[in-house]
C-alpha cells in the first residue's frame, strides 16, 4: 500500500511538474511569438567592430591592490573567466552574424537611396528643360506684334481658368458622397458609398443629441459601437471618452440608442467597414 501511495504521489508530482514546464514553455512561446510579430528595427542593433577586448585601466595607482586580490582568487577566477570567455565568444559570434545581416540591409538601403537620388536628378533635368522651352516661347511672343500678344494672353487666361474650374469640380466631387458608385475603389471598398452612409449615420444621430444637457463649453465625448446588418446595435454603446458631465454622457448615449436602426449598406463588404464605429461628439460645436 505504501508503495502504491508513493507511486500516486509521484504521479501527481510528475504531472504538476510537466504542467508547469508546459506552461513555462507556452509563456515563452507567447512572448517569442509576440516578439516576432514586430518588424525588426535595424537601428537598435549594437554594432561591434571586433571581438570584445578588456578596456585598459587608467588608474595605475589602484593596480597593485587589485593584483593581490587576483592572486587570491585565481582558480575560481580562471574557471569563471573561461566560462565568461566562452560566453563572450558565443555572444560575439551571434552579434557578428547580426552585424553582417545588418550591413547587408544597410547596403541595400544605400542602393535604394542612390536610385531615388538618380530619379530626382532626372526630374530636375526635365524641369530645367521645360523652363528652357518656356523661355524660348516667351522670346518668340515678345518678337510678335502687339495685337497677337494680347490675343494669346487672353487665350492663355481662358485656359488657366478652365483648368482651375476643372480642379475645383474634381475636389467637389471628392467631397460629395458618390451616389452612383463611380468613384475610386480603395482596397475593394467604394469610398464614395462609404462616405454616403457615414453622413447618413451622422445626420440621424445628430438629430437626437439633446445638447441642452451638455452645458455651454466646447466639450467632446467618444463612443464605440458595434452594429448588426439590420442597423441595430450589437450590445450597448461603449463610452471611450467622457464629457465629465453625467447628464451629457447620458444624453449622448440615449441619442445613439434612439437612432436605431442606423442606415447601413446592404453590400457585405461595405457593411464590414461600418459594423464597428468610433463616434466623436462635439455637442456645442467647436471653437
Amino acid at each position: 500500500m505504501k508503495f502504491l501511495k508513493l507511486e500516486n504521489n509521484d504521479e501527481l508530482q510528475a504531472n504538476l511538474f510537466s504542467f508547469a514546464i508546459h506552461l513555462a514553455l507556452f509563456l515563452v512561446m507567447i512572448f517569442s511569438v509576440g516578439w516576432q510579430t514586430k518588424t525588426p528595427y535595424y537601428g537598435e542593433v549594437e554594432l561591434w567592430d571586433s571581438v570584445p577586448v578588456q578596456k585598459k585601466i587608467n588608474k595605475t595607482q589602484a593596480t597593485p591592490k587589485k593584483k593581490i586580490k587576483q592572486k587570491q582568487n585565481t582558480k575560481v577566477q580562471k574557471s569563471a573567466e573561461a566560462k565568461a570567455k566562452a560566453k563572450a565568444q558565443k555572444e560575439a559570434d551571434i552579434k557578428l552574424k547580426k552585424k553582417k545581416a545588418a550591413e547587408k540591409r544597410a547596403a541595400e538601403k544605400k542602393a535604394k537611396k542612390l536610385k531615388k537620388q538618380k530619379a530626382i536628378k532626372e526630374l530636375k533635368k526635365k524641369v530645367l528643360k521645360q523652363e528652357k522651352i518656356d523661355k524660348l516661347k516667351k522670346e518668340m511672343l515678345e518678337k510678335e506684334k502687339v495685337e497677337r500678344l494680347q490675343q494669346q494672353i487672353i487665350e492663355q487666361q481662358k485656359i488657366e481658368k478652365m483648368q482651375a474650374e476643372l480642379r475645383e469640380s474634381e475636389l467637389k466631387q471628392q467631397k460629395k458622397p458618390a451616389l452612383e458608385g463611380e468613384n475610386e475603389v480603395k482596397g475593394g471598398v467604394n469610398t464614395g458609398e462609404l462616405n454616403k452612409y457615414k453622413l447618413l449615420i451622422q445626420q440621424k444621430i445628430q438629430q437626437n443629441v439633446n445638447q441642452q444637457l451638455c452645458g455651454l463649453d466646447y466639450i467632446t465625448l467618444e463612443f464605440r459601437i458595434s452594429l448588426m446588418p439590420t442597423g441595430e446595435l450589437l450590445g450597448q454603446p461603449k463610452m471611450t471618452k467622457s464629457s465629465n458631465i453625467n447628464s451629457c454622457d447620458d444624453a449622448v448615449e440615449r441619442a445613439i440608442i434612439q437612432s436605431q436602426p442606423l442606415p447601413l449598406p446592404k453590400d457585405s463588404g461595405l457593411f464590414s467597414k461600418l459594423k464597428n464605429l468610433e463616434l466623436k461628439f462635439h455637442p456645442n460645436g467647436v471653437e
Partner: protein, 429 residues
C-alpha cells in the same frame, strides 16, 4: 502532447485575431434642443385619501415648466406597472417615452402618508433612481416638488428649483396692496404685508430668511427688511428723498440701494443694520436698479447717461464703469444668472417691451418673449427659467414663467389677481 498542441494553436489564433483593424470614425457636431418625453403615471394610493394620486400632475407641471421635458398624456394608457419588472418597454417606446415615473402612496397612520417612487429609463430598460418620503397628507405638493427636483437633477445635472418660493405684490380693491409669498408655481399663498400704499421691489436675502422691499406707507418710498418666519421688520433706509431698489450682496452682509437725497437717483452701499452708507457712482444722470454679479465684484445698473436707459457695470475694486448693452435704445432692469454668464433684462424693441437675454461672453442677444408690455424679469436660482410680468386684457397684469430655451411659456395660476414685481427665492439645501 495533443493537449499541448491545442494550447499552442489556440494561442496562435488568439494573437492573429487580436491585430486591430482601423475603425471608421464619424464626427458629430452639435445636436438639437428638444424636450425629453417623460410619462408620469398617477401614483397608486393604498388607504390614502382619494385624488392624492394626482401628485403626478405636480411632477408633470414642474418638469414641463422647465422647458427640458415634455410630459406625455397618459390618460389613454391602460398599463399600470408596479415596478420596472412589470414594464412593457416596447409599448412605452412606441409611445415615444424615454422615461417613466411610477409611484405609490401608502397611508401610515392618521394624516400620515409614505410616498415611494421610481424613475425608469425606457431605453436602458432599468430603474435609474428611486426614493421614499414620509409626510402629512397636506404636504403632498411639497413631496411632488421634491420628486421633481430629484428627477431633474439626475437627468440634467443641474439643481432643481421646484421646491423654491417666490414673492410678488398684489394690487386689490383698486388701491390696496399686499406683499405675498408662494410656491414657485403659485400655490400656497401667504401675505407678508398689507398696505394702503404701493409696495415695490421685493428682494429675497441670499439665505431666503428675509425680504427687503420698498413701501410708500410714509407717503414716500422707504426700505424695510422683514423676517419671514416672525413677521418682524426694521426700517433699513429713510433718508431725505427716495429710498428704493434694494439689492442684497451675494454674501448677504450689505445691500446696494438707491437714494435721492442729493436730488438725483444715485447708488449707495449700506450694511444690513443700516450703518456705513457709501456712495458708489457719481453721476449727473439717473443711476438705479443695482444688481450684483454672483462673485460680488461688480454691480450692474441702469443709467440714462447715454440718453435713453442702458445697462452699465461698476467694478467695486477698480471703480471702473463700462457699458454693457448696445443693442436697442431702451434697456433696463438688469440681473445676472447664478453663474454670471447670462444677463437678463427688459428691452424695448420696435415699441414693444420684451424680456431679453445677453450672453456676457459672446455678447449675443436673444429676445425671450414677444411683448408688447412685458416687465420685471427675474431668474430662477438655477438660471433655467425666468419669471416675468405681462399685461393681460383690461387692466390686469399677470406673471408667468418662460424657460430659457424658449420652448415653454406658462402663466402662474393666480386667478384674476392683479400681480406685479415678482422675486424668486433661493435654493434650499
Amino acid at each position: 502532447m495533443n493537449k499541448f498542441l491545442h494550447i499552442i494553436f489556440a494561442g496562435f489564433l488568439f494573437f492573429s485575431s487580436s491585430v486591430i483593424h482601423a475603425l471608421e470614425v464619424i464626427e458629430i457636431l452639435g445636436g438639437k434642443a428638444s424636450q425629453i418625453p417623460i410619462a408620469v403615471m398617477p401614483f397608486k394610493s393604498f388607504g390614502a385619501q382619494k385624488d392624492i394620486g394626482k401628485i403626478n400632475s405636480v411632477i408633470k407641471g414642474d418638469l414641463g415648466r422647465s422647458g427640458l421635458f415634455y410630459p406625455l398624456d397618459t390618460r389613454g394608457v391602460v398599463a399600470s406597472p408596479n415596478s420596472d419588472k412589470e414594464v412593457n418597454f416596447s409599448q412605452w417606446k412606441s409611445l415615444e417615452a424615454q422615461f417613466l415615473i411610477i409611484g405609490r402612496i401608502d397611508f401610515i397612520q392618521k394624516e400620515q402618508i409614505k410616498v415611494s417612487w421610481s424613475l425608469i429609463d425606457i431605453y436602458k430598460q432599468q430603474t435609474v433612481l428611486s426614493g421614499e418620503y414620509v409626510g402629512k397628507n397636506n404636504q403632498i405638493r411639497a413631496i411632488g416638488h421634491k420628486v421633481s427636483d430629484k428627477v431633474y437633477e439626475r437627468l440634467t445635472g443641474s439643481k432643481g428649483v421646484f421646491h423654491t418660493k417666490i414673492a410678488f405684490v398684489e394690487k386689490y380693491n383698486n388701491q390696496k396692496f399686499k406683499l405675498n409669498i408662494a410656491d414657485y408655481d403659485g400655490y400656497n399663498i401667504t401675505t407678508l404685508l398689507d398696505s394702503k400704499m404701493p409696495i415695490i421691489s421685493p428682494r429675497w436675502s441670499p439665505d431666503g430668511k428675509k425680504i427687503a422691499y420698498v413701501s410708500f406707507e410714509k407717503e414716500k418710498p422707504v426700505i424695510y427688511i422683514q423676517e419671514i418666519a416672525t413677521g418682524k421688520r426694521k426700517l433699513l433706509a429713510n433718508f431725505k428723498g427716495n429710498n428704493s431698489a434694494p439689492a442684497w450682496s451675494p454674501d448677504g452682509k450689505r445691500l446696494a440701494i438707491v437714494l435721492t437725497y442729493s436730488t438725483n437717483s444715485q447708488i449707495y452701499l449700506i450694511n444690513t443694520d443700516g450703518s456705513d452708507v457709501k456712495r458708489l457712482v457719481r453721476s449727473r444722470s439717473i443711476t438705479t436698479e443695482p444688481s450684483w454679479s454672483p462673485d460680488g465684484k461688480e454691480i450692474y445698473y441702469t443709467s440714462n447717461q447715454g440718453g435713453g436707459p442702458q445697462i452699465y457695470k461698476f467694478n467695486l475694486e477698480s471703480s471702473e464703469v463700462s457699458r454693457v448693452t448696445f443693442e436697442g435704445k431702451y434697456n433696463l432692469y438688469p440681473s445676472l444668472s447664478y453663474d454670471g454668464k447670462l444677463l437678463l433684462y427688459l428691452t424695448q424693441d420696435q415699441g414693444k417691451f420684451k424680456v431679453a437675454l445677453q450672453n456676457l461672453q459672446s455678447n449675443q442677444v436673444l429676445k425671450l418673449t414677444k411683448g408688447p408690455l412685458d416687465e420685471a424679469p427675474v431668474f430662477a436660482p438655477n438660471g433655467h427659467m425666468v419669471l416675468f410680468v405681462y399685461k393681460n386684457y383690461g387692466k390686469t397684469t399677470k406673471i408667468g414663467t418662460v424657460s430659457i430655451n424658449g420652448l415653454k411659456i406658462d402663466p402662474l395660476p393666480l386667478g384674476s389677481r392683479q400681480v406685479q414685481e415678482p422675486a424668486w427665492g433661493p435654493i434650499k439645501n
